[in-house]
């Protein structure tokens, strides 16, 4: 492949602020310029070539950067990127793809918390697990991702899509508690199990859970039984219980829960008649 390859020279001990590492930032720079870019390693400023071997060739546009090594302590990789590809062969640290606008990030290993925080476009694909707060936002900001797509092939932690406004989150493994908390729009798809409290305090948006969900919050109403639901353009077969809520926030969000995976939710069916 053509593009830049950055290989970690040594094990990261203290956190690395890696927010300058994105195709948008590095595109068009000479190799020397790239090597001399500065980043924070803990409280010290270091140059790229002190931390990485830099190989390959640069491009003006549509640059691909491959990162090789364990980046678990590298924070903010792909920060604000608007195009190109960032490929991480290894694990990625916190805030991967924070404020991303476009382009593609791929991680072969796991990613830390806050994947795609406040992103507005682009695609992030994690082969392994992701941490907490994927697609969420900054504390107190009350707004999460507004566009783009996050795909986690493994599990994710708690509060996926917290305060989400728009976009897609797909988790093929299991999800921790509170997916879609305070959600205002967008779609969260969980193929595996969810530990609970799905859609808590949501105002709008869609959550689809194919696996086991121990219970549904008392502030949700059961609306209907649906044969299928659309996630992006794909039709996912059910049948599903369709819940709406969170009524504590006057929410009209939709929570689709697989009927086959959740016999313990059968008692909700008796409340179907009560809904007018």
């Amino acid at each position: 492949m053509s593009g830049l390859i950055l290989t970690l020279k040594k094990e990261l001990k203290v956190p690395l602020d890696a927010s300058i590492i994105s195709p948008t930032n590095l595109a068009g720079k000479t190799m020397d310029e790239v090597k001399n870019l500065e980043l924070w390693e803990g409280n010290k400023k270091v140059k790229i070539n002190e931390i990485f071997h830099v190989e390959g060739e640069n491009k003006e546009e549509d640059l691909t950067i491959k990162l090789v090594g364990d980046f678990s302590k590298a924070r903010g990789l792909g920060f604000k990127m608007s195009g190109g590809k960032l490929v991480i062969e290894g694990n990625a640290g916190l805030r991967l793809g924070e404020k991303m606008k476009g382009g593609l990030i791929k991680v072969s290993g796991n990613a830390g918390s806050w994947v795609g925080s406040e992103m507005t476009g682009g695609i992030i694909e994690i082969e392994g697990d992701a941490g907490d707060f994927i697609g969420a936002g900054y504390r107190g900001g009350r707004r999460g991702m507004r566009g783009g797509k996050i795909i986690v092939k493994g599990d994710c932690g708690v509060e996926a899509g917290a305060w989400m406004i728009n976009g897609i989150i797909k988790v093929y493994g299991n999800a921790g508690i509170f997916p879609g908390i305070h959600m205002k729009g967008g779609t969260i798809f969980i193929k595996g199990n969810c530990e609970g409290r799905a859609g808590a305090e949501m105002k709008d948006g869609k959550i689809v859970i194919l696996g086991f969900l121990p219970s549904v919050l008392p502030s949700f109403d059961i609306d209907d039984i649906k044969d299928s639901v659309k996630v992006e353009e794909e039709k996912i077969s059910g049948p599903f219980y369709l819940f709406t809520g969170d009524l504590n926030e006057d929410g009209i969000g939709k929570l689709y829960v697989s009927i086959n995976s959740n016999p313990q939710l059968k008692f909700w069916e008796e409340f179907l008649e009560r809904v007018i």
Binding site: L94, G140, N248
Partner: protein, 433 residues
């Protein structure tokens, strides 16, 4: 020579009772009036065999006594050379000392955090998203006719809370116990629950569900389920009615909410519940802050940096993100390369994953007493006890600031946290030039 010092501020829990009467005879505290059992225990035992009186430096796995200058120089060198040092603890000292610690963290380019991280951090995180409808404790004393303790057992944790501020207090508008109702929500019938007019037993880790149902009931929405979190719906509706129809209600909450499943979102829900209740009546909420100056630590760190705890100065300005800059997570990810612990015992209290890393890095501890943390430290600097041997400002759990008095002289040669941290700061600044 005997003297009685009145109006002494107790420096144990977040009640910060300021009516203690301390009798000092020949430079020693011989009697304390009005103190609860926990407070009395501090006064009686603070100068026991665990007291450290000489600075220690560990060489070849053994502690050697040294003078203060040497200890400070060694500590300064360790911290100044670190690329991501951590300062932690700080809830058991004055705001003046904590302010100095902030200055040190900034000079070091490190992280400053306090015990909020393991206690009411979730409460502050909840506040960031929802806000906080609260008051000072005197408002409760004077006006409250409904008092709820949720996940908090003040009879053990804040022994005089009920007498000084809530159900057993005497206020301008509520003179007798009978004028107030006490509700306790907890996972078991605690000592406080035994005093309650209503006790609600919640299934462990289902507080969020219960609050969710309570919010529904307050809103007048129907709860379909017969039972939520182990509590019959009828009882939930009863509690909601009680809350709506009171004149002035207050919800105190403790670690039962902050540290059970859901953490900051449990608080988010409780804050939202109380906020929404204000459409029907006067209702407030207050976290039961534990240590006597954990509130003060948040206050001073916030006014100096903008953020209440977990502040990262590594890039020359304050950055904050709980989960990223908080102590447990930093240690679990193995990211700090040196630590200064002030008045806390993380080795004894932290999760194993955090302890493991703390034992790998050089640790400097400032503490009056021996502890598991001093045992593994490289440098140990003894200090005086705030509120007994040194004055200082502290903040009660409701944000009311009080000044502690100096009651007796400290053991010879001991300096206060503020002085020690300042000396480290001076040294660090020189080293960094």
């Amino acid at each position: 020579m005997e003297k009685i010092i009145n109006n002494v501020v107790c420096t144990v829990c977040g009640c910060c009772c300021d009516d203690l009467e301390v009798k000092v005879k020949d430079g020693k505290i011989v009697e304390v009036k009005n103190a609860c059992a926990v407070s009395l225990s501090k006064f009686q035992n603070y100068n026991g065999k665990e007291r450290i009186v000489k600075p220690l430096i560990k060489e070849n796995g053994e502690f050697k006594e040294c003078d203060l200058k040497e200890a400070i120089e060694k500590a300064s060198k360790i911290l100044a050379e670190a690329k991501y040092p951590l300062i932690y603890g700080l809830s058991l000292t004055s705001t003046e000392a904590i302010g100095k610690a902030v200055e040190l963290a900034e000079a070091l380019g490190g992280v400053i955090d306090n015990t909020t991280s393991v206690c009411h951090g979730p409460s502050l995180i909840g506040v960031h998203d929802v806000g906080l409808v609260t008051c000072t404790l005197g408002e409760v004393k004077n006006r409250a006719d409904l008092i709820i303790y949720w996940g908090s057992n003040p009879i053990f944790s804040h022994p005089r809370h009920l007498t000084r501020y809530t159900v057993f207090s005497r206020g301008k508008f509520r003179r007798e116990r009978g004028e107030r109702k006490l509700v306790v929500v907890d996972v078991r019938k605690t000592a406080t629950a035994k005093l309650a007019d209503i006790f609600i037993q919640v299934t462990p880790n289902q507080d969020y569900e219960l609050i969710s149902a309570l919010r529904m009931a307050v809103k007048g929405e129907e709860i379909y389920l017969n039972e939520v979190a182990g509590v019959p719906t009828s009882k939930i509706e009863e509690l909601a009615d009680l809350m709506i129809s009171c004149e002035f209600g207050i919800l105190f909450f403790g670690l039962g909410l902050t540290m059970s499943l859901g953490k900051s979102r449990n608080i988010d829900a409780a804050l939202s519940l109380v906020r929404d209740l204000n459409e029907r009546t006067k209702f407030l909420i207050m976290p039961m802050r534990g240590h006597y100056n954990v509130t003060g630590a948040n206050e001073v760190i916030a006014w100096q940096t903008g953020y209440p705890f977990a502040v990262d100065f590594s890039q020359g300005y304050p950055r904050y993100n709980p989960g990223e800059t908080t102590t447990i997570e930093l240690l679990t990810r193995g990211e700090c390369d040196a630590a200064l612990i002030v008045g806390s015992d993380p080795i004894a209290h932290f999760p194993v994953s955090a302890v493991k890393h703390l034992m790998k890095i050089p640790v400097i501890t400032i503490d009056p007493h021996r502890s598991a943390t001093t045992l593994i430290s490289t440098v140990v600097i003894p200090t005086v006890i705030t509120g007994i041997e040194a004055e200082g400002t502290v903040y009660r759990m409701d944000g009311v600031p009080l000044e502690c008095k100096k009651l007796v002289e400290p053991p010879l040669g001991l300096k206060s946290d503020e002085e020690i941290i300042n000396e480290i700061l001076v040294n660090v600044k020189k080293l960094k030039e």
